[in-house]
Structure formats: structure tokens, C-alpha cells
């Protein structure tokens, strides 16, 4: 496929909060780029940097973490842990010559359909400009 395709984004969502929010976008037919793929986990603080790096190796243009922020039911320190993971990813990305802008995080709630779609639109734009 030689044609310029929309940037591929891997989203890590959370089973209890952000993934239902992303489902809402679908339910309400709020569209976002079809090159967005989602993996749902219990908590964003459980994302291993090696998974993020695997995504870049496999040709993903960006990784988006749809976190629970302060709503996380597992730990009040969730934003702090997730931030640390992103820092570690950015370190590894820089070493490999991948722009640290290619990883982003935002808190997505269980009814955040529009915010999710607009984050995707925005990130798609940023990634398109980067390449």
C-alpha cells in the first residue's frame, strides 16, 4: 500500500473506565480515525514500556494512553505511576530516534465519547505533521 494512510494509533484503555468511554463513542456514532486500535487493560499504571516499543517496531505512528486519572479505583497514585511509565517510554523512544511527541496521555472517563474522538483527531493531526 503506497498511498499515504492516516497515522496508526495504538490506544491503551482501561477495562472499567476509559474503554467504556471509547465504546460510547461507537454507540453514539461519534467517529474517529479507523486506524486507531485499542487494547484494554485493568489500569494504565500496568502498561509495560516494552509493549509501547513493540507498537513502534510494528509500525504504529503513535501511542495514546486513555488513563483513569484520579478516578482510578486501584490507586490514588495512578497518575504518578502512569507518568513515570511515559517518561521511561520517552527515554527509550529518544534512544531509538522516535519523537517523544508520539506518546500522549489524557484522562478519559466512562462517558467521555466526544473528548476521546477529539483527542484522536488532534493526535492524528500531530502525528501527520511529525512524519
Amino acid at each position: 500500500m503506497e498511498t499515504k494512510k492516516s497515522p496508526r494509533i495504538l490506544v491503551f484503555s482501561t477495562d472499567k473506565i476509559s474503554d467504556p468511554g471509547i465504546d460510547q463513542a461507537g454507540l453514539r456514532k461519534i467517529h474517529y480515525s479507523p486506524t486507531v486500535y485499542t487494547i484494554s487493560l485493568p489500569c494504565s499504571s500496568g502498561i509495560k514500556p516494552r509493549w509501547v516499543m513493540r507498537a513502534f517496531e510494528q509500525g504504529f505512528d503513535g501511542v495514546f494512553i486513555a488513563a483513569d486519572g484520579h478516578e482510578c479505583s486501584y490507586s490514588s497514585r495512578c497518575p504518578e505511576f502512569t507518568n513515570k511509565i511515559i517518561e521511561e517510554c520517552q527515554k527509550q523512544m529518544t534512544e531509538k530516534g522516535i519523537s517523544p511527541k508520539r506518546i500522549r496521555m489524557a484522562a478519559i472517563c466512562s462517558v467521555c465519547a466526544e473528548p476521546f474522538a477529539s483527542h484522536m483527531a488532534n493526535f492524528t493531526k500531530i502525528l501527520a505533521e511529525l512524519s
Binding site: 496508526r8 454507540l27 479507523p34 486500535y37 485499542t38 509495560k48 514500556p49 516494552r50 497514585r77
Partner: protein
């Protein structure tokens, strides 16, 4: 980590969802492509994966074709994860060797504007699912033995009521009270609404029952020192004062927290509140009314005019306590009525923001108005001013009900109607039990409506006003709900928990302790195995959050169902090259007239079916030949988006009728 045996005979079921998926995604082509994968033994399209007939077919396939893993590509796992786990289980396949792929909410519906690309995405999602299931492990639920005893923390009305219920249902109960006497806020209290019974009498009644029940052990002047152990078998250390250093341990299958609240204490100067002044709190006032007999006097001066100021310390838009304390309006009005009934010639002014004597208590509001009480309304931005004179308190209010005219009154006594605030020691209790605290600093339940007495910590429950302001009735109700819930759990001998927990690779682990540091549930501990110190997980306590996994420098931690092989397999599956033969502008894209292009086929069928006359769900289901469960689900969604609306009940009084919106009945 060792290379696990990959699955060889996978069954893939791609659902049409009656057009919800197949209108946008080329499910037939995907079935053919997926069927060519080496380890896929069965690849099928199904009209409705969740339908009973398909479930039976899946069971047959699993058994006859010896499938070792199944993938269902249909709706969100939030809907049918348990349905298909059940299918696997009934067929004799481990339920954790099944993977749900969300090709509806996160594909066909989300990309109904780009059906050609939706098919490519669906291919990636399904292949990710196949990779995931191929690395999946057969897991067994964690079995936990339940101890038939409960530790109840806090012997207020809620704690005492729950203890009695739990003991009567055959459980051992240890009831722990911090104060020297049981009763909590009701200890020593006078008449309370709605029955006028004295608070202390309520306490005495419950204490009498407790004395008759040998299964309850009540400790006063005692606190919970430490909670260890795991769910179903906690060990609660209780420290009893008076015998210094004495700590007793009790086993508990469950823990009920009924620690209650504290009354708000106004800050110095808040509405003129000072030590020894004529501005007192509701709590002090109630005591004063209860202990006075022939006449009401304060500091030697008869009280003839009382001003009650409501919402003190509560409903602060900018302050800490944003909530309404629920019971204080009724308590103040009830007190005012008691005063009128006990003493003659007293004038009462109620300076309020809103009156919330909800439910039956509205009668009290009506009664106090009839008794001649005056109600003046103020706004939060312009609170009444209170200035203490020698024997009098001057109160000024901008009364909202008379266009904010400034009114002034001299009162003998000002009563600050204060509400409930979280206990001072609630953080300490939360730390010991690891229960979450909300923004309002009260304890948090899992879900306010659906799971109102449970916490995220398995088998730690909440009752009464430690959860948020409640009146006595509500408090006792929640305590009784919690005790019923607890009994339902611990009456069984063993319980099953989902095995989604952290696992340690003992070979890779070099024990650095970082995982233990971040675990908020104390689920990780140190063990020695083959002469090596490594981390180990207490399965029943682990929540499977995975916070410990990325922290591990040796990558020795995996969460079951979210292993490196599974997640990386999914990433690879998303990225696999796929060649589809999709014509641009395939079904769904051209669209029908009237903005209908986004509606799924089943909605169109339902609308067509309803075009003549209103019908019930069973009638629609029969008319369009779809399962009534599915029709219900879609009809409710259509109702939510104002496409259909209810049209009364049918002649048999059995089912609701539905009609198209804007259609005459």
C-alpha cells in the same frame, strides 16, 4: 519466561449482529481470510453470536472439533464476556481460553462513516484476538475458604443493628467501639425524629438484644490496631484501652465498617460562634432542650426568641464540605417543634438556604409553619450577620423571599444547624483497611446505586453514615443491607474469585522490593525458594491492577490474561498485512434518504414494524424474527435517542407498547 504451548485449534465466530456489524464490515470476506490462518480450525459467520442457537452450535464445535481456544468478534466485552465464558465452560473448555473482540462499538459503529476501512480494522482486531487466544492460558478461579465471623467497627445504631442481624444469622460477631459506651451519636441523646423516641432509648433497646446474643462480643474503649490476612480470612488485631499493651486477635470472614460521622464544629467567629457566647451548635441545643424542664433558659436568662441558622459548614460552593448533610433541616425543625411543645411563648426564626425535609418529614415542616415559626431565606453569597450583644444576639439577614430586604432581629439564642462531617480518624481507618476515600472524605462504595454497601476491597463493607450523611432510618437500612450481603457471602464454605492476578517468575526475580513498595493492597511478600529470596503474590488479595508489573526491573511480573505474549501478540495482530477486496462505497456508505444512513439494519426493521401501530417487544420480536432480548436492547437505545417512545401498556397489562416518535397513537 518459558515459551508456552500455543493454541492449535482455534474457533473464530464473526457476528453480523443483525446488520450492526455486517452493514459496515465485510464479515464474509473476513471469515474466509481468518479461516486460512494456520491455527484456526473453525471460522464462521453468525447472525447473532449471543443467540441461544449459536451458543449451542459453538458448544458442539468445541466438543466435536476439539477446539482449544475461541474468539468471538461481536460487541463490547462489557456485554457478553460472561455469556461466552459460560459457553466455553459448558463445552468443557477453560473459560479463559476465550477472547472477545469488539468489532461493533470500537469498529463498525465507530467507523460507519468509512465502511471500507472498517473492514481493514476489523481484520486487525480479529487477528489480534486470535494471537491473544493462542497465547492464552487455562486459568482456574481462586478458591477462598470463608470464616463465619465478622468484625464490626463502630457500635453506633448501624453497627449494633448489623451485629444483631449477623449473629441471628449464625455468625460470630466482634463489635468494636472506640468510646467507653456503645451508642455512637445516639448515646445520651434526647428525642429524635420521626418517632420522638429518645436516642438513648434506641441504644438501650439494641443493647438489650445484644446482651441476649452470646455470639456477639462487644468491646468498648477499643480500637482496631491492625488488619492482616486475606479475604475470607482476615485477622483483626483489636487494642483494648485500660489494659495497656493488650492486643487481641480475631479471625474475620468479613469486616463491616460502621464508624459513623462527627458533627461539624463551627470555626471561631463563624456566625459569631465563640466560646461561652450565645451562639451554640445544634448538638448543644438538643442537649439543652432535653435537660430543661419547666422553662428554657441559657446562662441564667430565659430564652424567648431563637434564631436557627441552617447549612452551617455544609453546601459550601468554595469550601471543603460541598455536600448537603441530609438530616439537619429535619433535625432543626423537629427540635423547634419539641421546644414549642415543651415550653410556652417561644418565637422561632429559621434562617435557611433551602429546606430539605424530604419524604415524610415534610409533615414536620408543615407543622412548624402552623406553630408560627418564621422562615427567612438567605443566599450563600450573603450569609446572615451575627453580632453578640450583652445578653442578646443581633442577627441581620437579606431575605430572598422579600426581594432581599434586610431584616433584623434580636435573639436570646442563635442555634447553628450543623451537619455531619467525616470522622477525624477516617484516614487512619481507611489506611488500615485500604478502603478508598471520596472527595468528600467519606468512605467510598463501589457503586452508589448498584453496589452501595461494598467497597473495592473484597469483603470489606460499609454501613451507616461513615459513607456519607444519613439519617437514622437510612443508616440502619444500609447497615442491614450490608449484614445481609455479608451473610450471603460467608454462609458458603468456599468462594471463587477471578484469577486475574499478578504472577512472579521466580527465576527472573532478584528481589529488589520495588513491587512490594508500590502495591497498595499488601499482596506481595518475600519468600525463599530453592535458596533464593524472591517475591510472591497472595492471590486472593491481589487486585490484578498490574501496577507492579512495569516497575519490575527484571520484567519478572505478568498479570494473568495480560501477559507479554498476549499483549504483544495483539500488537502484532493489528499490524499484520491484510488484503481485502473492498469496493469503495460498499453497503452502508451510500445511505438511504432521510438521514437514515447511520442507522443499523435492525433499527430500520423495528421502525418498519412499528410504522402501522404501537406494538410490544414480543410483538416486534415476532414481527422481525429476532430474539426479544436483542429487540429490547435496541429498542431501549432507540428510546434513548428519541426515535421511539412508550405508548402506554397493552390490554393484558403485561407489556409496554412502543410507537415511533411523533406518530399518533
Amino acid at each position: 519466561m518459558e515459551e508456552k504451548q500455543k493454541k492449535q485449534r482455534i474457533g473464530v465466530y464473526i457476528c453480523h449482529c443483525g446488520g450492526n456489524i455486517s452493514d459496515y464490515v465485510d464479515v464474509e470476506q473476513l471469515r474466509d481470510i481468518v479461516g486460512q490462518e494456520e491455527n484456526v480450525a473453525v471460522s464462521k459467520n453468525v447472525m447473532f453470536a449471543c443467540a441461544d442457537s449459536n451458543q449451542k452450535e459453538m458448544i458442539k464445535d468445541i466438543q466435536e472439533k476439539h477446539l482449544d481456544g475461541i474468539v468471538v468478534a461481536s460487541c463490547s466485552p462489557k456485554l457478553h464476556l460472561h455469556t461466552f465464558r459460560g459457553v466455553a465452560e459448558r463445552a468443557g473448555l477453560n473459560p479463559y481460553n476465550y477472547v472477545q473482540v469488539n468489532v461493533r462499538e470500537q469498529c463498525s459503529w465507530a467507523h460507519s462513516d468509512h465502511p471500507d476501512q472498517a473492514s481493514y480494522k476489523a481484520a486487525g482486531l480479529i487477528r489480534a484476538g486470535i494471537r491473544r487466544v493462542s497465547s492464552s492460558e487455562a486459568l482456574t478461579n481462586i478458591e477462598v475458604k470463608a470464616t463465619k465471623s465478622v468484625v464490626v467497627i463502630g457500635a453506633g445504631l448501624a453497627g449494633m443493628r448489623a451485629s444483631i442481624d449477623l449473629a441471628r444469622m449464625g455468625n460470630q460477631v466482634v463489635l468494636v467501639e472506640k468510646e467507653p459506651v456503645a451508642g455512637g451519636q445516639m448515646a445520651g441523646k434526647g428525642p429524635v425524629f420521626p418517632t420522638n423516641q429518645k436516642g438513648q432509648e434506641l441504644v438501650n433497646t439494641l443493647l438489650g438484644e445484644i446482651r441476649k446474643l452470646p455470639k456477639i462480643t462487644l468491646f468498648t474503649s477499643a480500637t482496631v490496631d491492625k488488619v492482616t490476612g486475606s479475604i475470607g480470612n482476615f485477622k483483626v488485631d483489636i487494642k483494648v484501652n485500660g489494659t495497656p499493651g493488650e492486643v487481641m486477635s480475631f479471625p474475620a470472614g468479613a469486616i463491616l465498617v460502621t464508624t459513623g460521622y462527627e458533627s461539624y464544629i463551627p470555626k471561631e467567629g463563624e456566625y459569631g460562634f465563640t466560646e461561652g457566647g450565645r451562639v451554640i451548635t445544634m448538638k448543644e441545643f438538643e442537649k439543652m432542650v432535653d435537660s430543661s424542664n419547666s422553662s428554657l433558659s441559657y446562662k441564667g436568662k430565659p430564652v424567648k426568641t431563637i434564631a436557627y441558622i441552617y447549612c452551617v459548614g455544609m453546601r459550601q460552593t468554595k469550601g471543603e464540605n460541598k455536600y448537603c448533610s441530609r438530616s439537619c433541616c429535619t433535625a432543626a425543625i423537629h427540635s423547634s417543634i419539641m421546644v414549642h411543645e415543651k415550653f410556652k411563648g417561644i418565637k422561632a426564626f429559621h434562617l435557611y438556604r433551602d429546606i430539605r425535609t424530604y419524604g415524610k418529614n415534610e409533615i414536620l415542616y408543615e407543622k412548624s409553619s402552623r406553630l408560627g415559626d418564621t422562615f427567612l431565606m438567605y443566599q450563600e453569597k450573603e450569609p446572615p450577620s451575627v453580632v453578640q450583644g450583652k445578653n442578646i444576639v443581633n442577627v441581620k439577614i437579606k431575605d430572598s423571599l422579600t426581594k432581599k430586604r434586610e431584616l433584623e432581629l434580636d435573639a436570646d439564642l442563635v442555634v447553628l444547624v450543623t451537619g455531619m462531617v467525616p470522622r477525624n480518624d477516617s484516614q487512619d481507618i481507611a489506611n488500615k483497611l485500604k478502603i478508598p476515600i471520596g472527595n468528600d472524605k467519606f468512605f467510598n462504595e463501589i457503586h452508589p446505586k448498584l453496589r452501595p454497601v461494598e467497597t473495592v476491597i473484597n469483603w470489606v463493607f460499609l454501613g451507616g453514615s461513615c459513607q456519607g450523611p444519613k439519617n437514622i432510618t437510612e443508616s440502619v437500612q444500609s447497615a442491614m443491607a450490608a449484614s445481609a450481603k455479608i451473610n450471603a457471602i460467608i454462609r458458603k464454605d468456599t468462594l471463587e474469585l477471578e484469577p486475574i492476578v499478578a504472577r512472579i517468575d521466580a527465576e527472573a526475580c532478584t528481589w529488589c522490593g520495588k513491587c512490594q513498595e508500590v502495591c497498595e493492597y499488601d499482596a506481595i511478600f518475600q519468600i525463599e525458594t530453592n535458596g533464593k529470596v524472591v517475591a510472591s503474590v497472595n492471590d486472593p488479595v491481589c487486585k490484578g491492577c498490574g501496577i507492579c508489573a512495569p516497575i519490575c526491573p527484571a520484567d519478572a511480573i505478568d498479570i494473568a490474561q495480560y501477559t507479554n505474549a498476549e499483549i504483544e501478540g495483539m500488537i502484532d495482530g493489528f499490524s499484520q498485512q491484510v488484503d481485502l477486496n473492498i469496493e469503495k462505497g460498499k453497503s452502508g456508505q451510500e445511505g438511504d434518504a432521510g438521514g437514515m444512513k447511520d442507522f443499523p439494519q435492525i433499527w430500520k426493521s423495528i421502525m418498519e414494524n412499528l410504522s402501522e401501530e404501537p406494538k410490544t417487544i414480543p410483538q416486534i420480536a415476532a414481527g422481525i424474527q429476532q430474539p426479544s432480548e436483542l429487540v429490547t436492547w435496541h429498542l431501549m437505545t432507540m428510546n434513548k435517542y428519541y426515535i421511539v417512545e412508550s405508548a402506554g401498556i397493552d390490554d393484558n397489562d403485561e407489556y409496554f407498547l412502543y410507537k415511533l416518535k411523533n406518530q399518533a397513537k
